[in-house]
């Protein structure tokens, strides 16, 4: 009685309806009540000693290939690699073959992603000549990592350890795995990037000048001893990039998959408390949306952005502030038109139908055939 009286004054916010606070409290109460009910019904059953969470990430050789002591077996990581590269090549060529002036949704989405890789990742971090040379590499890197992250969240029949009997057919169980959740693949990508940016730096500046450019500016009048000390630190930091770039991608994807595994029932099985599953299962949905909606794209974006910064050879805070160059009139017009359209749409309440969706982005005129024209972009070639 007294508890009800205490809740009542702040519970009456809307006319006749419950306030947000009491709705949230009721929801939370139901959530815990279901868990308690599960605990009463099932008790502490459901413990399974044979469940080993690390087996989800174990690579079982499907076709054993062993050349000179090096394990080159075909396993699920190889399948995911092939899928990701096939999707990267397939989507982009398929979209570019059937480009239309009035884009459908798929084309618009791919154009937005293309725009991101071209203007934001490449154009925003590199000067023009370097951007033109390295855009195909950075774009391919972004799309490859993005596709391998995204197919990592599709359940595919890859778990050959546990098979499911469907109509007398032994089908491998559906499981989540991502090629990027294995350290080898981010590490190989990082090694390619690491070698590429050193080669680009040496090619652009010359060997000695490139090594000198490792030193931060403002040390010209300092002693040779101090310069040497800072050079050693900078050299170590270049090697640390090997670890940070690869482990960042690997750890994010692995931690995401582990969270999904544990929240989606793994923790309940491991600890043998079935009721815990009722508590963690809604969290699995939350983390799935977070991973698919944010982390998968963000990690691809970060990897290619850092690659662009490394290739540009500039420290992080020395980036150009505006993503389109000042002499790029069509690009600036496009950006201006888009932001105008967006603000107009926001004001008139039509944000989900932005004005520029029906008018094809002006970029289409020169952007897509950029790949066909050698050493040529919207800034140098006449449209």
């Amino acid at each position: 009685m007294s508890a009800e009286a205490a809740v009542a004054p702040e519970g009456e916010a809307g006319a006749g309806g419950l306030s947000t606070k009491s709705k949230a409290l009721i929801g939370l109460g139901v959530y815990f009540a279901i868990a308690m009910l599960m605990l009463l019904i099932f008790g502490s059953s459901g413990k399974d000693e044979s469940f080993q969470p690390q087996n989800e990430f174990k690579l079982e050789p499907w076709i054993s290939i062993d050349i000179g002591g090096i394990d080159l077996s075909i396993n699920k990581a190889v399948l995911y690699l092939v899928l990701a590269s096939g999707l990267t090549i397939g989507t982009m060529t398929w979209i570019s073959r059937r480009m239309t002036q009035r884009p459908n949704r798929v084309q618009t989405t791919v154009e937005v992603a293309y725009d991101l890789t071209r203007n934001n990742i490449t154009g925003g971090n590199l000067d023009h000549a370097t951007a033109v040379r390295w855009f195909p590499f950075l774009g391919a890197l972004f799309f490859f990592i993005w596709f391998s992250n995204m197919i990592g969240f599709l359940p595919l029949p890859i778990n050959t350890e546990h098979t499911v009997d469907i109509l007398g057919l032994q089908v491998p169980a559906f499981a989540l795995y991502a090629a990027t959740a294995n350290l080898s693949i981010p590490l190989v990508l990082t090694l390619v990037v690491w070698i590429a940016y050193h080669v680009e730096g040496i090619r652009a500046k010359g060997f000695v000048k490139y090594l000198q450019s490792w030193l931060p500016p403002g040390l010209e009048d300092k002693s040779i001893f101090l310069k040497g000390l800072i050079f050693v630190i900078e050299a170590i930091s270049h090697f640390a990039r090997l670890i940070s770039l690869s482990v960042r991608l690997f750890a994010n994807i692995l931690a995401g998959h582990l969270l999904l595994l544990f929240m989606g029932g793994g923790l309940a099985v491991l600890l043998g408390i079935a009721a815990l599953g009722a508590l963690t299962f809604p969290l699995a949905f939350f983390f799935f949306i977070l991973e698919v909606g944010l982390i998968a794209t963000l990690q691809a974006f970060i990897f290619s952005t850092l690659t662009a910064i490394y290739i540009g050879g500039k420290p992080l805070d020395d980036r150009p502030r505006i993503s389109t160059p000042t002499d790029d009139a069509p690009g600036a017009a496009l950006v201006g038109a888009r932001s105008l359209a967006r603000s107009a749409a926001r004001r008139s309440g039509h944000l989900h139908h932005p004005a520029w969706r029906v008018t094809p982005p002006q970029a289409r005129k020169f952007e897509i055939d950029h790949l066909a024209k050698e050493r040529c972009s919207q800034w140098t070639c006449p449209p």
């Binding site: 934001n120 960042r248 750890a251 994010n252 990690q299 970060i302 505006i322 993503s323």
Partner: protein, 88 residues
């Protein structure tokens, strides 16, 4: 107080397993504190800057995500090294 059953239960394997579990928990937990503070600072400063200069919003967006991912990765470094200590 007779502690002999406790002493008998303590084995080298038990101590090793306990140490690994503590390393994973404490390491990942402390790492998450730092990364959590860092991410909070990044988003807070970004809100501040957008409130000051709303026209910079689109340019700040990519910088914000860059900072967020770089900071968030720190938490995962500790987590992964904890896992390595735990399973290897």
């Amino acid at each position: 107080m007779d502690l002999s059953p406790v002493a008998a239960a303590i084995s080298d394997e038990g101590i090793e397993a306990a140490g690994k579990a503590i390393a994973l928990g404490v390491g990942a937990g402390l790492g998450s504190i730092g990364a959590g503070i860092g991410i909070g600072i990044i988003f807070g400063k970004e809100i501040e800057s957008v409130a000051r200069q709303p026209e910079m919003k689109s340019e700040l967006e990519s910088i914000r995500w860059l900072g967020f991912a770089l900071t968030e990765a720190v938490a995962f470094y500790t987590f992964i090294f904890g896992l390595i200590a735990f399973f290897l």
